[in-house]
């Protein structure tokens, strides 16, 4: 089975987010990046499928942010092929454009299964993964929690529904799955392996045509949330804050 997974980089919220001069975008030059956690689960699911049933894994990522670190870690996890899509812009593409860019490269790889994180916290113009499936003209199922092989031309995927109902579905390939969680949490890779990957891993570069579409939503303003009238921000020392919380919980009848 040929599996493709995608990796998207997101601003690491450990650093304060800085809004640029336009007031409509983050200043990505000031950001530190990490891998979208759902993409990390998608990669783990791919590696688990490879270990259990045999498969080749190709990771595709935009050359943006700290992508090399993410790709070396992917190499250390045992992926077979790594493709970087050259990208010159200072900010990431909006989701519909990203779907078009990724689809341009993935289409030629002719994968059986595409695993991508079901969402990321930077999506504002639609959700990347179903848009990717649309661009590839492939079926899509989202919110998947665990995938198993069930034959040459199909896979079994699991999905939870409200009301404690769990579905097991057989999906004919090729297909795109939006991964919420892998069957097991993403593994820890010893740094020695990442270091070895830094010396030996090979990244291919495959260019994609620039996206032909513009965002359907115009972003007018990006700003930090404003404290609402009904919110009380508690200031003071740790003990003053703690006392106020205890007082509030007592007033509301939570503490007696």
């Amino acid at each position: 089975m040929k599996i493709v997974t995608t990796i998207r980089q997101l601003p690491d919220l450990i650093e304060p987010l800085v809004i640029d001069a336009s007031g409509k975008s983050l200043d990505y030059g000031e950001a530190r990046f990490l891998v979208n956690e759902y993409d990390d689960h998608a990669l783990e699911q791919a590696v688990l499928l490879k270990e259990q049933h045999g498969a080749s894994i190709t990771v595709v990522a935009l050359d943006f942010g700290d992508v090399n670190d993410a790709l070396y870690t992917a190499a250390a996890k045992g992926v077979d092929r790594i493709i970087k899509i050259p990208y010159e812009e200072k900010k990431p593409p909006f989701p519909r454009a990203a779907a078009e860019i990724f689809a341009g490269v993935i289409r030629d790889l002719q994968p059986d299964l595409i695993l991508a994180g079901v969402q990321s916290y930077e999506e504002w113009d639609g959700s990347f993964t179903p848009l990717l499936a649309h661009a590839l003209q492939l079926p899509y199922v989202g919110l998947i929690q665990g995938v198993e092989c069930s034959g040459e031309q199909s896979i079994t995927a699991f999905k939870e529904f409200p009301g404690a109902a769990k579905a097991r579905m057989t999906i004919r390939l090729p297909a795109v799955l939006g991964i919420l969680a892998a069957s097991h949490p993403p593994r820890y890779v010893p740094i020695s392996r990442v270091r070895a990957a830094m010396k030996s891993a090979h990244f291919e570069e495959i260019a994609a045509a620039p996206p032909s579409i513009a965002p359907k939503i115009q972003l007018e303003k990006l700003y930090a949330p404003v404290t609402g009238a009904r919110a009380e921000m508690i200031d003071g020392s740790e003990s003053e804050i703690a006392s106020r919380i205890v007082q509030l919980l007592t007033e509301k009848g939570v503490l007696k």
């Binding site: 010893p190 740094i191 020695s192 270091r195």
Partner: protein
């Protein structure tokens, strides 16, 4: 815990450690199988594989059984086994890291709480997951400028590597500020590395993350060679141990000193400032790195005895026989695993020993111990009887430069 065998993508030979080779060399060939290590280990009762059994079973070809066992992640690097071994085999510094490195290389997952610490150290250069840009936040509120060599490189006599807990953890930041005031009063020519500083990495090595340790060592060696200084000063005994013992293995010998010996050597100039008496019974907890490993028992006690009013009392287990706080060598991030398999944390046991000594104050000289022991004091219900103070805090109080203003 479910173990998943990963795809081996690349061959990797650890540069310094191979557990099977190790057991066929020098000192390890002399293991008498006497069991002193197992009987001495404060967590030996919880281990299916004690050092003696690890040596025996590895030789018998049963290494794979050991690697999946929770014992692999129970050693807290207290050095008791190494210090009592009649053949003086370096079990703590060699056997455990080699075993853990092998477990990691074979794809066995370390407890998740430890993975989290490893990932934060790799990504941010500190185990607390703090932003590298906020490394100097500890110094906020000091009323004098600090020589931040990252911004203004110049030669200094003493380079203070503040390390992770004093830089980021609020309880330890207090100690860091008091120490900064103390260095100024002693007219030391000192500086710090500011946001360029990264974890020195001792605990990562002892927990078998050899690749992470090597990465940190390479970064730090390159960084330190950019600056001119005579001595590196540290608050963290593990950092001292790393610089003293492990950095030279990578060809980097930097003169390093832990603050207890640094200050004890300067008791002459320090004494006139120790004006305010502290009327209290104080017991000192010998941390494992400075104590058992480096045999430094008297300088911390000399500092305490220099403060008038302090009556130094000893716990039954002191000096070579001191019980570990349970936080060393990665134990700081394994309380869940150790409690699950060992039933309790060693710090919970140690505060009871401190209370039994009759002391009002448990004095410490390691950043991990403040929060560990304060937490355990709450667990033991000893809050009204026992307080934890770093040596620096007691000295600062006597010098009337303690946090919160003069009294």
């Amino acid at each position: 815990m479910q173990q998943t065998q990963p795809t081996i993508a690349y061959d990797y030979t650890p540069s310094t450690l191979d557990v099977e080779k190790l057991l066929r060399t020098g000192d390890f060939l002399g293991c008498l199988q006497c069991g002193m290590c197992a009987g001495s280990c404060p967590l030996g009762y919880a281990m299916n594989y004690t050092p003696r059994k690890i040596i025996l079973n590895t030789r018998a070809g049963n290494l794979n059984k050991i690697l999946v066992d929770p014992s692999v992640w129970l050693c807290i690097s207290c050095y008791t086994c190494s210090s009592r071994c009649p053949k003086k085999i370096e079990l703590t510094d060699l056997l455990w890291p080699a075993l853990r490195d092998r477990a990691l290389q074979e794809g066995f997952q370390p407890p998740t709480e430890l993975q989290d610490a490893f990932e934060k150290i790799y990504k941010y250069g500190n185990s607390l997951g703090g932003s590298p840009r906020k490394r100097m936040d500890w110094a906020a509120g000091l009323d004098f400028p600090i020589a931040n060599l990252a911004k203004d490189p110049h030669p200094v006599d003493v380079l203070w590597i503040v390390e992770c807990f004093p830089s980021y953890y609020p309880r330890n930041q207090i100690v860091a500020r008091e120490f900064a005031r103390m260095l100024n009063i002693l007219e030391i020519d000192w500086g710090v590395l500011g946001h360029k500083e990264k974890c020195l990495g001792d605990c990562d090595r002892l927990y078998g993350e050899e690749g992470l340790f090597e990465t940190l060592v390479e970064n730090n060696i390159e960084l330190l060679h950019d600056y001119q200084f005579n001595t590196i000063l540290v608050i963290d005994p593990h950092a001292f141990r790393a610089l003293n013992r492990f950095y030279p293995l990578f060809g980097a010998t930097f003169p390093a000193e832990h603050y207890a010996t640094f200050l004890a050597k300067r008791l002459g100039p320090l004494q006139p400032f120790l004006k305010k008496p502290i009327p209290a019974k104080v017991t000192y907890h010998d941390n494992c790195c400075i104590g058992r490993r480096c045999q430094c028992y008297e300088p911390p006690r000399q500092l305490l005895q220099a403060i008038s009013g302090i009556e130094l009392v000893e716990m039954e287990r002191n000096r070579d026989n001191a019980l570990c706080c349970g936080g060393g060598g990665g134990g700081m991030w394994l309380d869940g695993h150790i409690t699950k398999h060992g039933g309790h944390r060693l710090s919970d046991e140690r505060v009871k020993q401190a209370a039994a000594s009759g002391a009002d104050i448990l004095a410490v000289s390691c950043p991990y111990e403040l929060s560990r022991f304060e937490d355990s004091i709450k667990v033991a219900g000893l809050e009204s009887r026992l307080k934890v103070r770093d040596l620096i805090e007691l000295l600062a109080e006597s010098m009337d430069i303690q946090e919160g203003g003069k009294s």
